[in-house]
């Protein structure tokens, strides 16, 4: 067994325990060092992961470390570093107990990585549970805040419910075809003409579970409440990391596992996608709280991702799996996820900075931000435009690429709905922009932001712009990553 393959994961686990242990010995006024330990530690793990990079599979294919897994390993570690740095001031001034916070955060990074590299359903389930449990704790981490507690309870109840759905679907699948490995599922499914009702039920349950975790309409009810109650960095983490991890697994699951029965599950995803894009964006129109608004906006974005997933598996006229077209969609999906992730991080970080000094997270509280803190207002308005899909930002290019890819599979009508949904979203993004730049200033106090925070904002902004005008290096990386999932058998 070649354990070299998962050295980075071992190191990451060690890092989490190191942070927990250091927490015992550090005096209270030194605990801010833990954020540096976590972020530098993760940076080191990235270096190791690049140096020790090997491909192969472990435990008879339970874990597949291929280009795809390697890509997402680096990606999750990188966003882990960003979220750690983003949480620094917030944890110190609003929550306390940094030790467990950062350790659990690292565990969620670990879980996301193993989710993206799992080649078997139970491994994926366990990873998903580790991810979810970490998030349950983190959502309720602000112990003395009733909102955070309420969010935690809601999240754990509904999260457990959705996990139960997935688990039931898994057992149904295993009971009927006797395997949980993705490649074996594919072989078995392609040998039958029609799948049984029981198998279909299993698939539907798994899809429903995934939709729950992605907060797709009509399984979205938990999201706004949880997003609103959770500490802001965790809201950001929830809206970025958990979604990307699940979609990363879903891409592998659909293209190597259940692609032979694409006609059975594709309509479900298409309906979900249309409901989610339209529903999420319509509900966002009436929100007053910035976190709730972003919750609905990220539901809307989950709709675009679901649309990509629905169009992911292209079948040629002869009934073969057409990897060429799938490439276009999977590249678009990953590109859009990354663009969405960076943009969401940027906008949440702006919100964190405002909250740190004013304690407000409603839209009204952002009024006149352009004069109170121009840099934050600039980054915020750029991220709003990026989310709305306007050039020169990453959101435009990635949306165009994704929509174009989906349309190339022949779903022009669904793309039309998506484009209209993104027109709806422009209204509420512009409303926020109006508060930032035009609305009368009631509270003229200056919001001070440290140089370090400005650097992070600047880096996020640069990524947003570069993703929009010069995406080809990123696209080459994505292409190599998806090559290993979509390899022609």
């Amino acid at each position: 067994m070649n354990f070299h393959l998962i050295y980075p994961e071992f190191l990451l686990t060690g890092l989490a325990f190191l942070v927990l242990t250091l927490d015992f010995f550090l005096p209270e006024d030194r605990k801010f060092l833990l954020s540096w330990v976590s972020s530098l530690g993760m940076a080191l793990v990235i270096v190791f992961a690049l140096l020790l990079y090997q491909q192969g599979d472990l435990y008879q294919g339970l874990l597949i470390i291929d280009g795809y897994a390697g890509f997402f390993r680096i990606f999750f570690l990188a966003i882990g570093i960003v979220i750690t740095l983003m949480s620094r001031d917030f944890v110190q001034s609003n929550i306390g107990n940094p030790g467990e916070y950062y350790a659990i955060l690292i565990f969620t990074v670990l879980a996301s990585i193993s989710l993206a590299s799992s080649g078997e359903l139970l491994t994926a389930y366990v990873s998903l549970e580790v991810l979810s449990f970490g998030l349950y704790v983190l959502v309720a981490y602000d112990r003395y805040n009733p909102g955070s507690n309420e969010a935690g309870v809601k999240f754990i109840l509904l999260g457990a419910f959705s996990s139960a759905l997935i688990l039931y679907g898994l057992s149904q699948t295993y009971g009927l075809i006797g395997t949980t490995r993705l490649d074996e599922i594919a072989v078995l499914l392609s040998s039958v003409e029609d799948i049984s009702i029981g198998m279909l039920l299993g698939l539907v349950l798994i899809l429903a579970g995934i939709a729950f975790k992605l907060a797709a309409v009509p399984f979205h009810m938990w999201a706004p409440d949880v997003y609103e109650g959770a500490p802001i960095p965790i809201t950001a983490w929830l809206s970025v990391c958990s979604k990307i991890a699940i979609v990363a697994f879903a891409i592998r699951f659909f293209t190597t596992g259940i692609f032979p029965v694409v006609n059975d599950w594709q309509p479900i995803l298409m309906v979900l996608a249309v409901l989610t894009m339209v529903g999420g964006n319509l509900l966002a129109l009436v929100q007053k709280n910035m976190k709730r608004l972003l919750a609905y906006s990220s539901i809307g974005h989950a709709g675009y991702l679901l649309m990509g997933l629905a169009a992911l598996v292209a079948v040629t006229d002869e009934g073969m799996f057409n990897t060429d077209f799938s490439h276009l969609v999977s590249n678009g999906l990953i590109f859009h996820m990354i663009a969405y992730g960076v943009t969401n991080f940027a906008i949440f970080y702006c919100l964190i900075l405002v909250y740190n000094s004013t304690g407000r997270d409603d839209i009204q509280g952002l009024a006149g931000l352009s004069s109170r803190q121009p840099m934050v207002a600039l980054v915020m308005v750029c991220s709003l435009f990026s989310l709305a899909g306007l050039p020169v930002f990453a959101g435009f290019t990635s949306k165009f690429y994704l929509f174009n890819a989906v349309a190339s599979q022949g779903y022009l009508l669904m793309v039309g709905v998506a484009i209209v949904a993104s027109l709806i979203s422009l209204y509420y993004y512009l409303t926020v922009a109006r508060y930032l730049y035009i609305e009368k200033v009631l509270d003229e106090s200056i919001i001070s932001v440290s140089v370090g925070s400005k650097c992070i904002l600047g880096v996020l902004l640069i990524f947003m712009v570069v993703g929009g005008i010069f995406p080809s290096p990123l696209m080459d990386l994505i292409q190599t990553a998806t090559d290993s999932v979509l390899k022609v058998e």
């Binding site: 490439h327 590249n331 484009i419």
Partner: protein, 515 residues
């Protein structure tokens, strides 16, 4: 660096962006520095756009100053396996004319915005961003970048209008600038939604895996059926029509133009509305010639409604800016009618009208801006006898007004004459009816323009006008440039027509060949 070489059209996009970046790092407390940097960039860009117009070889025609750069590879089952979105630019006769117009409006707009005091740095950043988008649309030969720049030119509008604009009070209601800005942005983006759908449909249908207009054009006769062409052309026509002020989708335009600050009204009415008409030519007629033939009667009919409806609405307005806003709707009707003729005369006239109306409207809005800056009102019921104190302003307004009603010797006459001939030539019986409607529109224009002139400038002054000063040297210079062009095109239209014709002819030949 090839990227920034002088004869590379990308410079037109890159320079305003460079200006934005430099301004971003200029401290906001130094408004004068901001102004000088802006004017330097605007002058250089004007110089380059004049260069492209003069050195465009109209006897050769076609696409010149070509530059291509492979931007993003597209995976997929294309004919030659690996395809890419490429940054592909070039200038043809139509684009050369439009680029010149944009350069001039940008330059004069910068001069007119000299007195903006509130956050003038942010204003110029957004203004340059807007213009780099406009230039991009005119030079792009790739549908992705065409759309990229098209959206880029919409993006800054919201903030520009909502922050630096002005609200209008009516007797029974108030139209706030925030309302107008939101309306304009949403309606325009709704238009670009349609364009986006059409672009993706054409990409998918062509199956070449490229957004390059010429590559799609090459396979178009085989791949695009008549039904496909006719349905997609209708979508495109409405999408671009929204930006061109096509009736009944024009309502954003008067509201938006009135609320916008002077320079933005100049760019928006002068150049941005032309993007719509330009898009119909560059994308619609080039890629969907049969669709164009099917829908052109509708376009010419709606254009006629535009002319009459816009002129009648303008007659009912008292706010000077609303009068000009509606007259823009009316004049864009001539452009649409010219496109609808599908004849060489008509199309030449349409593009010349785009140019002429751009210059004329810019002059109009600049003059109204001067009046508003001094009197703080635009109400023609209050303003009287301004000519006594503001002689130069009155002369400028008169020239713009006379151009608007099509006085021979000024640019509007040449353009409208070509359009009228085109209409009469291409639609026999209907041509007479539509042509007469167009001429009636010009007559109505004369009514409202002359009425305004006699009241606002040459009436007997009721109030004390001694506070009002005439145009400053800077304003005179900006307006003088525009007046010079109006006269130049009016007296010597043929150099312009030749350049335009070299761009229009191949497109027209393709349409006639297809039918």
């Amino acid at each position: 660096m090839e990227f920034l070489s002088f004869s590379n059209p990308t410079t037109l996009v890159a320079l305003p962006i460079l200006g934005c970046l430099i301004l971003l790092f200029v401290p906001g407390q130094r408004p004068d520095l901001v102004r000088w940097i802006s004017i330097i960039f605007a002058t250089v860009v004007l110089g380059i756009s004049i260069y492209f117009f003069i050195f465009f070889d109209h006897s050769e025609g076609g696409k010149q100053f070509v530059y291509e750069y492979e931007w993003l590879s597209l995976a997929g089952p294309w004919v030659d396996s690996q395809r890419a979105i490429s940054m592909s630019v070039g200038i043809d006769g139509i684009a050369a004319t439009m680029v010149l117009l944009t350069g001039i409006v940008m330059f004069t707009g910068t001069l007119v915005s000299w007195n903006i005091n509130v956050n003038n740095k942010d204003f110029f950043i957004l203004y340059f961003l807007l213009l780099s988008g406009v230039f991009g649309v005119f030079i792009a030969y790739d549908l992705f970048f065409f759309f990229f720049f098209y959206e880029l030119s919409v993006l800054p509008m919201y903030l520009l209008i909502a922050k630096w604009g002005s609200s209008s009070k009516f007797s029974s209601f108030e139209r706030t600038k925030e309302y107008s800005a939101m309306k304009l942005t949403l309606v325009l983006v709704a238009g670009s939604v349609l364009i986006w759908v059409a672009i993706i449909a054409m990409f998918v249908q062509s199956g070449v895996g490229s957004f390059h207009i010429e590559e799609i054009q090459a396979v178009m006769p085989d791949k695009f059926s008549v039904e496909f062409q006719s349905s997609v052309f209708l979508i495109l026509m409405i999408g671009f029509g929204i930006l061109a002020g096509l009736w009944p989708f024009h309502t954003w335009s008067p509201d938006g133009h009135v609320a916008a600050p002077t320079a933005v009204s100049m760019v928006h009415a002068g150049v941005l509305m032309k993007l719509g008409a330009f898009g119909i030519i560059r994308v619609g007629m080039t890629l969907l010639p049969e669709g164009a033939q099917i829908w052109m009667p509708l376009l010419i009919g709606l254009g006629a409604v535009n002319v009459i409806y816009g002129a009648l609405s303008a007659m009912g307005q008292t706010d000077l800016k609303y009068v000009i806003g509606y007259s823009s709707v009316s004049h864009m009707g001539y452009v649409l009618m010219g496109l609808g003729t599908l004849s060489l005369m008509g199309l030449n006239g349409a593009v010349l009208q785009m140019f002429s109306h751009g210059v004329m409207t810019a002059l109009f809005f600049a003059v109204v801006g001067m009046i508003y800056e001094r009197t703080h009102t635009r109400d023609s019921l209050i303003l009287t006898g301004l000519a006594q104190k503001m002689g130069v302003v009155a002369v400028l307004f008169t020239i713009a007004g006379l151009t608007s009603l099509g006085l021979p010797g000024l640019s509007g006459f040449a353009a409208e004459l070509l359009i009228f001939i085109g209409i009469f030539q291409s639609y026999e019986v209907w041509g007479v009816i539509l042509g007469s409607l167009a001429v009636i529109g010009a007559a109505i224009t004369a009514v409202y323009i002359l009425r305004l002139l006699s009241k606002v400038f040459f009436g007997s002054p009721e109030d004390d006008l001694s506070d009002y000063s005439d145009a400053t040297l800077r304003e005179k210079f900006a307006a003088g440039v525009l007046v010079g062009l109006i006269l130049l095109v009016g007296i010597l239209p043929f150099p312009f027509v030749k350049v335009i014709e070299s761009g229009v002819e191949p497109i027209l030949l393709q349409i006639v060949g297809a039918g």
